[in-house]
């Protein structure tokens, strides 16, 4: 008999039970929980606090950036002001001269034959300009 037991032979019933009055009380228990959740609803301060976090972080970052910036430009201004004219002239006469390597670069440029479209100027106009400034015959 046991081997032939089919699902359809078993009476269909819910075998479990609940404590007495369980379903009478359940709605109020659920509502107590929802009421507690409502009390925990975020106030205006909570979203505001969340929004303030990136702002504060940004301010901290900007502050840290400016704080850590070196004061060199100001120092240079002070130094330049304290340098006498004679020293400036001496410096320029010593270091601000055109080196021969600068001319070497110029001569290589000339050899490269830059295309006219790159220079955006016609050959005639270029010749005229050179003649006007007398650049073809520069004496060093």
């Amino acid at each position: 008999m046991k081997k032939d037991l089919k699902l359809s032979d078993i009476p269909q019933r819910n075998p479990y039970q609940v404590p007495a009055n369980y379903f009478d009380r359940l709605p109020m228990r659920v509502m107590e929980r929802t009421a507690a959740q409502e009390q925990k609803q975020p106030t205006l301060w909570q979203p505001l606090r969340l929004a303030l976090v990136p702002v504060v972080l940004l301010l901290l970052f900007v502050g840290a950036y400016f704080y850590s910036m070196p004061d060199e430009p100001e120092q240079q201004m002070v130094n330049l002001a304290s340098v006498s004219d004679t020293e400036i002239v001496d410096y320029l006469s010593t270091y601000a001269t055109i080196e021969t390597t600068d001319f070497a670069e110029l001569s290589t440029l000339r050899e490269q034959e830059l295309p006219a479209e790159l220079l955006n100027v016609s050959a005639t106009a270029a010749e005229e300009e050179l003649e006007y400034y007398n650049l073809n015959h520069i004496d060093y």
Binding site: P15, Y16, Q17, D24, L26, M28, V30, T34
Partner: protein, 220 residues
């Protein structure tokens, strides 16, 4: 203040005191926390409309819980077996319903939407149980099986006990399908909406579940 039922009990106790001729110690427990709202079964549409209005929100939610609590509780209970677990999960489901009912799209049925929340809660609960105790699937089944065996409601009913144990041997999702069809007599279309599975697949799953159960019944 004594309620009418407690007053009646009080009179009976006084009578008992007189009859026994000795003092009877008695105390009255507070009335059970039952709802202050009279239960009127409302249509889902009406419930949702009332829930949307702040002045009738609580009343509508109370009616909603009363309308669906038994179906949801039993759906969960058959999955987790233990009453306390089912009680916690049922409350969790309705709290979730409360939180999300404003966002509920009315193109789905309220009933199937709540069922889907309950189903997900059940599956999450069983998964968390496996993770929490590092239990493989079989050990969770064994744990549920023990609960069935120690259930006083099934004591003395050998056939029901066998059936419940056979159902527990099914994989979780197939067990869901079986319970929804066999006990809740739900339509495949509704099950499809809840479980997100095609009607054809559900029919096949139920058919296989029945075969498996009958096999278990034969060999157990």
């Amino acid at each position: 203040m004594l309620s009418p039922s407690n007053f009646l009990v009080y009179l009976l106790l006084l009578a008992e005191e007189e009859l026994l001729n000795k003092p009877v110690v008695y105390c009255f427990l507070p009335e059970p926390a039952v709802s202050a709202y009279p239960y009127v079964q409302l249509e889902d549409k009406e419930l949702l409309e009332k829930f949307a209005q702040p002045e009738s929100r609580n009343m509508a939610f109370n009616q909603l819980v009363r309308k669906y609590q038994q179906k949801i509780y039993w759906h969960i209970r058959k999955m987790v077996i233990d009453h306390d677990d089912a009680d916690d999960l049922t409350q969790d489901v309705f709290v979730k319903v409360w939180k999300n009912l404003d966002n509920f799209r009315q193109d789905a049925q309220l009933y199937t939407w709540i069922y889907r929340i309950a189903t997900n809660e059940c599956l999450s609960f069983l998964s968390s149980k496996k993770r929490k105790f590092f239990l493989p699937l079989n050990d969770v089944t064994a744990e549920l099986m023990e609960k069935v065996e120690s259930s006083p409601e099934l004591a003395g009913d050998e056939v029901q006990m066998k059936l419940q144990k056979a159902i527990l041997r099914l994989p979780e999702k197939q067990r869901l399908v079986f319970n929804m069809k066999y006990f809740d007599e739900m339509k495949y279309e509704e099950m499809s909406e809840i479980l997100g599975t095609s009607v054809g697949a559900l029919k096949a799953s139920y058919h296989i579940a029945v075969k498996k159960i009958e096999e278990f019944l034969k060999h157990d």
